[in-house]
């Protein structure tokens, strides 16, 4: 997919640029691709008195993907929501190429794609194309970037025949492909996938695999959360979340 974030983030004379935003990025790679990746340090989150995440640490280097597993309700979704900036940690910090989800919200979110668990998050009465176009605008892409991003997403997730149909008339698997297209649409640097394989057939899984491979090629990262480890060669390290902490899955 085309690299849209570059024209949004890296402008000559932009005095607010982050060190990881330095130019000289090879064509086709993601700006900041030489950055530090995702760092989650000493993150604690309590629901009432229960520490669902307890001094948790995680690092995802550029160009890699990690699986985070664990039993139901162990805190995988909470972890992803903290990394997505939807929930603030009680303690600890999250950074993506040195950017904070709270202090550098806009630049952080430009680098982030998020697929929540379940099948929600689409405007049922809008067409697939209108859903994609809206999200491209919310990602602050320019008009020409929007058109290219939407066209590329439709192609990458096999949505050509569905693009002009309403979202509420899709099957669950088709909906999931649209939701995945939204997560990858703006060429994010890090994509958070909460149970992405839900309702997907083999073809759908192969589309994710191809997209993740392309993301890696450009220096991007993914975190794949699901109870069981997916059988995808693109997934590198695996971690199991238990009692608030991650342990490496061997």
């Amino acid at each position: 997919m085309t690299n849209y974030a570059s024209s949004l983030e890296f402008r000559p004379g932009d005095s607010n640029r982050h060190p990881s935003d330095m130019p000289a990025v090879p064509p086709g790679s993601i700006p900041g691709g030489t950055g530090s990746g995702l760092r989650v340090r000493n993150v604690t989150k309590r629901w009432d008195e229960h520490a669902v995440l307890d001094d948790l640490a995680l690092e995802i280097p550029p160009g890699t993907s990690a699986w985070v597993g664990g039993r139901n309700g162990v805190g995988k979704t909470t972890l992803l929501r903290i990394v997505a900036g939807l929930i603030a940690a009680d303690h600890g910090e999250v950074s993506l190429d040195g950017l904070s989800p709270q202090r550098d919200r806009r630049r952080y979110q430009r680098r982030l794609g998020f697929l929540s668990a379940g099948d929600r998050g689409l405007y049922a009465r809008l067409t697939v194309r209108h859903n994609l176009q809206l999200w491209a605008r919310l990602a602050l892409l320019s008009t020409s970037e929007c058109e290219t991003a939407v066209a590329d997403s439709i192609e990458a997730f096999g949505l050509s025949e569905l693009a002009d149909g309403r979202a509420d008339r899709l099957s669950l698997g088709q909906r999931q492909r649209v939701r995945l297209a939204l997560a990858f649409l703006h060429s994010p640097r890090l994509v958070l996938l909460d149970e992405p394989a839900n309702s997907l057939d083999d073809h759908g899984l192969s589309l994710i695999a191809a997209t993740v491979t392309e993301l890696h090629r450009r220096g991007g990262m993914t975190i794949w959360c699901s109870p069981n480890r997916p059988e995808l060669e693109q997934i590198g390290r695996g971690y199991v979340l238990n009692e608030g902490r991650l342990s490496e899955d061997r």
Partner: protein, 271 residues
């Protein structure tokens, strides 16, 4: 800077377009809402035939008074009620999450969600005026009617903070209908929508001085229908400017605070 403004404006317009497309997907929404408004206009026409207070107020004067009140209530509903209900729907449908994780952001998304209901309501209000004029002979004062456009825009800016504050509350409390029903009922009582505020007991008349709805409806009555103002027009305009200038920044600050608090609590996308 200009690119930032342009991409943000385009994002806001995309939200307006979304709402327009959703409205179109319900084929009879405009017709049914216009019909509801017409029923209200018809009801008040016949009620106005019963009004006989003597002096200089005729039944037609009261009808004109009530029509402007009904129109203003549409705008108030669009500004105060519709956005909070829309946010509730977004939370339940999981679509608000997309705003929250977007570079455009939750606060900008919420404010953008207020644009289409206002524009849509203007179309309803114009239709109401046309209906009242054609069917019931309501006479517009054409010499000043055009002034209703900038006054309507100013009124929207003065009303919007109340809608934003309600939304900030919805993000924290996850309830919309209870608070908004109270606000609408209260504004109908003290805003001078259906009867002059001078008829209220003395101890409550101060309430008409501390909100923008009364001066807005008075100005609309004056420029659209030529009804007399209870205070100088410039003073009513000044009140609207004051409410917009003071309350808009305060309400946006409150909205950002509620987003921060709900992010800390972990409840922002809960419903």
């Amino acid at each position: 800077m200009s690119e930032t403004v342009s991409t943000h404006s385009a994002a806001a317009l995309a939200v307006v377009r979304r709402d327009f497309l959703l409205m179109l997907s319900y084929r009879f929404r405009f017709v049914t809402q216009a019909l509801s408004a017409f029923f209200g206009l018809t009801l008040f026409y016949y009620i106005s035939r019963l009004v006989d207070v003597g002096g200089s107020i005729s039944t037609d004067d009261y009808y004109a008074f009530a029509v402007t009140g009904l129109m203003t209530l549409q705008v108030i509903t669009a500004t105060l009620v519709t956005p909070s209900l829309t946010l509730r729907q977004e939370l339940v449908a999981g679509t608000f999450e997309r705003f929250a994780v977007s570079p455009f952001g939750a606060a900008a998304g919420i404010i953008s969600m207020m644009l289409f209901p206002f524009v849509y309501t203007l179309a309803i209000v114009v239709t109401m005026l046309a209906f009242a004029g054609i069917v019931f002979g309501l006479a517009l004062q054409w010499s000043t009617a055009a002034l209703s456009i900038p006054i309507g825009g100013l009124a929207a800016l003065a009303f919007a903070p109340f809608g934003i504050l309600i939304i900030a509350g919805v993000l924290l409390a996850k309830q919309a209908s209870v608070g908004t029903n109270w606000v609408i009922a209260g504004v109908s009582q003290i805003g001078g929508l259906y009867f002059p505020v001078t008829l209220l007991p003395g101890w409550i008349q101060w309430a008409s001085e501390v909100q923008p709805f009364t001066p807005a409806v008075d100005l609309m009555r004056h420029v659209l229908l030529g009804l007399p103002m209870p205070e100088p027009a410039w003073l009513a305009v000044l009140k609207l400017v004051f409410f917009a200038a003071i309350l808009l920044p305060v309400s946006v600050w409150a909205l950002n605070r509620s987003i921060k608090i709900s992010t800390r609590r972990g409840t922002m996308i809960e419903y």
